[in-house]
Amino acid sequence: MVFKCDITTLRQIYKRLKEVYEVISPVYDNGVIQYRKNPDFDAIPFGKAQMEYAGSYFVSDNIGKYFSYVRPYNTLKNFLRPAEEVLYRVYIKDGKLYFESENKHTKKPMAFFDVRKCDLKALSILDEVFINKNNYPDEYYKELRENLFIVAVNCSEVSDVCFCSSMNVNFNNDYGSDIVLTELKKGFLLEVKTDKGKRLLEGLSLKEADEDDLKEKNEILTQTYTKIKKSLNKENLKEELYKKINHPYWEEIGNRCLGCTSCTQVCPTCFCFDIIEKNSLDGSYSERVRIYDSCFNPNFATVHKFNLRDKIFFRYRHWLLHKMAYWQDQFDDIGCVGCGRCITWCPAKIDIEIETNKVRDFA
C-alpha cells in the first residue's frame, strides 16, 4: 500500500502516534539536531540544513524542503540501550539477597519518527548483536525493540561525512519499518510496510499514490545516492586489514587520536558496556547499573594489573578493526553504516573512511 499525503495529514499521523507511543523524533536544540522524546510535531527541525565535516558541525536555515536535514547527532541506541540503565536493584536482608528488575512493559512503547536508512541498518546490526546472534538474548533491549513503531524517512540531502552508499546500507530495504516516508516535490509518499502501520493510518483521508509518484521516489533515491562523495572500499576489506595489523601507520593515527571516546559515543552500532554497582552507605542496597563503555577507555582491556592495550594506537586499531573486520567474523556484517558521525565529532578530525581506505591500500 502506497499513499500520498500532505503536511496536515502528516501532522495527524504524528498525533495518532503520540496517543499510543512515546514518540522520539529529531528536534533542534542547543545548536544541534538531536533525537529526543518529543510530543510536538512543530519541534521537528523542518527545513534545516546540516553541514558536517571532519571535526565540525553546524546547522543552517531553510532550504525549501521539510526533511532537508540529514540525521540527528545522537543515535537510537541511546533509547534502546540507554547510557545508564538499572539491571537489578539488590537488597540484602538477613544475609540473603533479593533481586528486583525493572519491568519495561508497564511503560508506553516507543515510536521513532524519522529514521534514516543508515540508522535503520544500525538497528538491524544491534538486533544481531543483542538478540539474533546471541546465545543469551538481551531481554532489556528486546523488550523495547519488539514494541517499537518506526517511521522511516528516505534521505534527499546528504552531508559531507556520509558514506552509507558504500557500506552495506540498502536504500530499497525498509529494515522492518512500519511506514517509509519520502518527501516528493509536492507532498509525501507513504509506503505502508506492516499491519501496525496500516492500523495507524486507518480512517485518514489518504490518496493512493500513482506510478509517477513512485517514479519520482526512485529518482530521489538515485539522486541522493549520487550526491554521496565519500566511498569506502570494501573489497577484501577484512583480509587486507588483517594483513596490515602490524603496519606502522597505526602509530601515526595513534599520535593524532586523543582517546576521548567521542567516536564510540556517537556511533550507532558501538555496543560496549560496563556494569557498575551503586551502593547505599550501609551496604544493604545496591544497584547493578549498565553504562556505556568505550574500547578507548585506558583500562578497558586490563586483566588484573596488565593492560593489554596500553597505547592509544592499540585502542584506535582495535576500534577500527572491530568495525571493519572483526565484525565480519562475529556477525557476518560490517559494523559501520557510514553515517559519518564519528568523523564529525572527532576533535582530532580523524576520518574513519579515509583511514580505512589508506590502511587497506598499503602494500
Partner: protein
C-alpha cells in the same frame, strides 16, 4: 530468564589453598556444566568476577579464587554456610575427544591449574581412551602450590610433575621454569595439549612444543581476559574477532595464533 539473573548457592566448605588463594565448595544447581567452563561470582556492591569451574559433581562445584581484586576480595571472608550468588556456566569446553587414542598433555601455570583440574580428573576417569596422560605444573614458590592433596593422588595415577620458580628447603623437586620440565619430558609429537597459564608462559611453552614437533592445531589454550558480561556483548574480553567469554575461554591455538601473538590486539 534475563541474561544477568543470578542464582543462589551455598558454601559448603572453604579451604585456604595458600596465602592468597582459597578453594570453595559450593552447593548449586548448574545447568550441565562441563570442564573448561566458568561462572560469574557476584559480590554485592562490588560486582562480578569470572571464576573457572575447577570441578563439578552432583550439584557440588569446586572453585578456586585468588584474592586479588575488589570482587575476589569479598570472598576472603567466605565461610561455610554462606550464600553465594552466581550465574553460568558460560563458555566452551576442553575438547577431550580430540585426544582420544593419542597422548594427552596437560600444562598449567599458577592459578591455571584450577582451569585444568576438572579436565585432568575426567582424563583420569577415562585413562583407557588415551595412549598416555602427562601433566606438568609450574608454580612460583612452595607457598604457591595449589591442591597439594590432589597432586599426590595424580602423581600416583599419571606422570604428573611440578616445578617451582624458586625452591626452598621444604621442596625436594625441581626448580626452574615449566619449559625446563618440558625439555626433560618425552613428548610425543602426536600429543594433544591442553594448557592454561599466564600469556608469557603459554608463548614459551608453545615454542618448545613446536620444536618437539607438536602441531599447533593440536594445542588448546584457555585464555584469561576481562570478562564483564560473560555473554558476548560488553566487548571487554575481545581478542581479535573472538569474545573470550563466548568463543572461548578454550581456543585452538592455530585458530587464535594470529591475534594472540600480536601486541595490543
Amino acid at each position: 530468564m534475563k541474561p544477568y539473573d543470578l542464582i543462589e548457592g551455598k558454601i559448603l566448605k572453604v579451604y585456604q589453598e595458600n596465602y592468597n588463594t582459597i578453594t570453595v565448595i559450593v552447593e548449586v544447581n548448574l545447568k550441565d556444566p562441563r570442564p573448561g567452563q566458568f561462572v560469574m561470582f557476584y559480590a554485592i556492591g562490588r560486582g562480578e568476577a569470572p571464576i573457572t569451574i575447577a570441578d563439578y559433581k552432583d550439584g557440588f562445584m569446586v572453585n578456586t579464587i585468588r584474592i586479588v581484586g575488589d570482587v575476589t576480595g569479598y570472598f576472603d571472608k567466605a565461610k561455610e554456610g554462606d550464600s553465594i550468588y552466581l550465574r553460568g556456566p558460560y563458555g566452551n569446553l576442553w575438547p577431550i575427544d580430540k585426544a582420544f587414542g593419542k597422548n594427552l598433555f596437560i600444562v598449567s601455570g599458577g592459578l591455571g591449574l584450577a582451569a585444568t583440574r576438572w579436565i585432568l580428573e575426567e582424563a583420569l576417569k577415562q585413562k583407557h581412551r588415551f595412549k598416555n596422560v602427562i601433566s606438568l605444573y609450574g608454580a612460583k614458590s612452595y607457598d604457591d602450590i595449589l591442591y597439594r592433596e590432589k597432586i599426590e593422588e595424580w602423581e600416583k595415577e599419571i606422570d604428573f610433575k611440578t616445578i617451582l620458580n624458586t625452591g626452598n628447603e621444604r621442596w625436594k623437586g625441581k626448580v626452574g621454569l615449566i619449559t625446563d620440565l618440558i625439555n626433560d619430558t618425552d613428548i610425543d609429537s602426536n600429543s594433544v595439549v591442553f594448557m592454561c597459564g599466564p600469556d608469557p608462559m603459554v608463548n614459551a611453552v608453545i615454542e618448545i612444543l613446536e620444536s618437539k614437533g607438536v602441531k599447533k592445531e593440536n594445542i588448546y589454550i584457555s585464555l584469561e581476559r576481562h570478562m564483564k558480561c560473560a555473554v558476548g556483548t560488553c566487548g571487554h574480553c575481545m581478542i581479535g574477532p573472538y569474545f573470550v567469554c563466548k568463543n572461548g575461554p578454550v581456543f585452538n591455538y592455530k585458530e587464535i595464533e594470529y591475534f594472540y601473538t600480536k601486541k595490543g590486539v
